[in-house]
């Protein structure tokens, strides 16, 4: 939802980043305001996932230039956990399996680390259990998944639902969904999208990274950006996604070449 004069949540200017000395992001700029839903599309290797990991603070990437402000603060000054506590959430493309750590304990520790950051009392086991039961409904998740180890033995769809459950608990200001739709059948996609839609508010923002226009039928973006070779080359409305689905990415490359 585009709201005039709403707060700028994320402001990215000329961002460049390397992995092992290879430049991946090459001057990326983007602004996201409260209430908005953005989608970034683009071919494989264009740097979409790198961008999401850079925002979350993945240690494998080196920032070589540019600025990223999150709610006016330099994002790169804080550790990954501080970014999380202040409201940045990355739903992983491939959520990790953590053997031996119960999902419920993991969710509680994550939730309480945010509460502590906000100066609130940590929730005890019983109060948290009540909260998590209520949030489970958002992603139609079976409570039995709480007793299992984090993501261990979960199907692809269950892992993605578990990511959205974490989002529902942490209530981020900026949620970055890295290919949350890939590998999902249509039923799971609807559940995940429906969950995300329940979590959108005028004071938060969502950045979706996806290969497929299909997701955008269920989570309708305000802006669609196309990424190519480490930067955003064009921005449009939802119609742009339909055009990409029909025509592929080559025409954008050609238009860009003509423009140069």
């Amino acid at each position: 939802m585009i709201v005039e004069n709403s707060e700028v949540i994320l402001s990215v200017q000329d961002l460049t980043a390397d992995v092992d000395g290879t430049p991946i992001l090459k001057g990326l700029s983007l602004e996201i305001k409260a209430g908005e839903i953005h989608a970034i599309m683009g071919p494989n290797g264009s740097g979409k996932s790198t961008f999401s990991k850079v925002l979350a603070g993945h240690p494998a990437y080196t920032i070589t230039g540019g600025t990223v402000l999150f709610k006016g603060q330099n994002l790169f000054e804080s550790e990954p956990e501080e970014r999380s506590r202040s409201g940045v959430f990355l739903a992983f493309q491939y959520p990790l399996e953590i053997p031996g750590v119960s999902n419920l304990d993991f969710l509680r520790v994550a939730y309480n680390s945010k509460r502590k950051h906000q100066g609130l009392d940590e929730l005890d086991v019983f109060d948290f259990d009540e909260l998590v039961q209520e949030r489970l409904a958002i992603v139609k998740m079976n409570p039995s998944f709480l007793e299992r180890s984090v993501n261990e033995g979960f199907s692809g769809g269950e892992k993605k639902r578990n990511e959205i459950l974490q989002m529902a608990l942490l209530e981020p200001t900026l949620a970055i969904l890295d290919e949350t739709d890939s590998g999902l059948d249509i039923d799971a996609l609807k559940i995940v999208a429906n969950g995300v839609n329940q979590l959108t508010r005028p004071d938060n923002a969502i950045l979706m990274i996806t290969h497929y226009q299909r997701l955008l039928d269920y989570i309708v973006p305000d802006y669609v950006h196309v990424m190519e070779a480490g930067k955003i080359v064009t921005t449009g409305s939802k119609a742009l996604a339909l055009e990409l689905e029909a025509r592929g990415y080559d025409w954008i490359r050609e238009e860009e070449a003509i423009a140069k």
Partner: protein, 454 residues
């Protein structure tokens, strides 16, 4: 009939070189004072001690030139002169002290406490025992222990001999035929440090009669920081169809030395499970020897070793089969940080007679620092031709991606690492039959280790 399958080479390769340290040099003269154990018991113990003492005169401290001790250098022991029984006087104990109360397991059906190897009746709880369960110190045991005490194979091994030579006290547990003791019996061997370094020789004897069942928690710890050598021996006899669920916790201070032997004999159809957790000791070694003497025995060995700082923690297990249709399952995990070292040697002997044996062994290691080290050695000796035997070892570090995943959910680096370490350890802790003990161990492990980025 007991078939001895242990092939400990210590005796055959005794070091007679000029630098050899004889056991008799290790500690002060044995104090063979009168034992107030009752005439029959005293006579039996004295004869065991005399034989062991004579043997101890000939035995030397093992060196790394011996295969069994290749990774475990006992040189630091040579620097210390250990006092023998001079420090064995009883200390006054306050059963109401916080330090002691924290050690009590509310789940336990009975508790037997030894401080510096002195039996402490005021700290023990052995009143109102369930039918068929007998628990006591050594005094007055007489004929009940004859044929069991000191009779396990491997009694001639160096440190076992040393323990027997100093035998003055023991925990004795006996479960009668058909009796099932579900709640744990808690044995506490507490070291209360004194200014000198001592040789402490705890001893434990367990007899599970036919078709009986026992849950046992055997715990060694130091109140404070000591430099003692705790040389413990536990002998467990499982008679036909008996079951013993044994938890063995070693959490001495990081400056103590601990050599522990668990010798187990399993008669036919018996089931033995061991959960061994080793946290303490500058140098620690757990020798776990299981002798299966009948058909269809089941052996489950779960082990968790945590070492940090300059610790060296060694587990040497040996399972010897002698009859067909037996199974063993072993999972041993080590968590090693700083400059510490972990050693695992797991022997499984399957002679020709032990057809249709099903034996598996897995050793998983987690290194938390670039300087931490693991030596792991499976040792399968299989002669029988129709068996299922597997073994494996893994060494890993904390996965950077997993740490990042947790950080991205708001956990700081250290909390993320701790959660992953707990996840690695929990499999070994969750089967311990006391929630209190599980919590204590979890906390101890996290306070012991330190994670450095690779």
């Amino acid at each position: 009939m007991t078939i001895q399958v242990s092939t400990d080479l210590d005796l055959q390769s005794v070091d007679h070189s000029a630098h050899a340290v004889y056991l008799s040099d290790l500690c002060e003269r044995l104090d063979l004072d009168q034992l107030a154990l009752g005439a029959e018991t005293a006579a039996l113990v004295q004869s065991l001690r005399d034989r062991a003492s004579a043997l101890a005169q000939e035995l030397t401290l093992p060196t790394t030139r011996q295969e069994e001790w290749r990774f475990t250098d006992l040189a630091p022991l040579r620097q210390i002169k250990f006092a023998g029984s001079a420090w064995r006087q009883r200390v006054l104990a306050n059963p109401d002290s916080e330090a002691f109360k924290n050690l009590i397991l509310p789940e336990a059906v009975a508790r037997l406490v030894f401080v510096n190897n002195c039996y402490m009746p005021e700290l023990s709880a052995i009143a109102n025992l369930p039918t068929g369960l007998a628990i006591s110190s050594l005094a007055g045991q007489g004929g009940a222990i004859a044929g069991y005490l000191g009779q396990q194979p491997g009694a001639e091994e160096v440190f076992t001999t040393l323990n027997t030579a100093h035998l003055t006290e023991a925990a004795v547990i006996r479960v009668q035929r058909h009796q099932v003791i579900e709640s744990p019996v808690h044995l506490l061997f507490i070291s209360s440090p004194v200014p000198a370094s001592r040789l402490v020789s705890p001893r434990c004897l367990v007899v599970a009669e036919p078709s009986s069942s026992l849950t046992l928690v055997e715990e060694y710890l130091t109140l404070g920081t000591g430099t003692d050598l705790i040389n413990a021996v536990t002998e467990i006899w499982l008679q036909e169809n008996a079951q013993v669920n044994h938890t063995r916790i070693q959490r001495h201070s990081q400056t103590d030395f601990h050599i522990g032997k668990t010798a187990v004999s399993q008669a036919r159809d018996s089931r033995y499970t061991c959960h061994a957790v080793s946290l303490g000791g500058r140098i620690s070694r757990h020798n776990l020897k299981v002798h299966s003497t009948g058909q269809q025995t089941e052996t489950t060995l779960n082990g968790l070793t945590v070492a940090a700082g300059e610790q060296l923690a060694d587990t040497h297990s040996a399972i010897g089969f002698s009859q067909p249709h037996c199974t063993s399952h072993q999972l041993h995990k080590c968590i090693v940080s700083d400059r510490a070292r972990g050693v695992f040697n797991g022997k499984v002997s399957v002679p020709k007679a032990a057809q249709l044996t099903d034996a598996s062994q897995l050793n998983r290691n987690l290194l938390l620092s670039p300087k931490a080290r693991i030596d792991t050695k499976p040792q399968l000796e299989i002669v029988a031709d129709n068996v299922k035997c597997s073994h494996g070892a893994t060494v890993s570090q904390l996965e950077a991606e997993e740490v990042f995943y947790l950080q991205s959910r708001g956990l700081d680096y250290q909390s993320a690492c701790n959660l992953l370490v707990e996840g690695f350890a929990v499999e070994m802790l969750e089967q311990i039959p006391s929630a209190t003990l599980r919590r204590t161990l979890s906390q101890l492990i996290l306070s012991q280790i330190r994670t450095e980025p690779a």
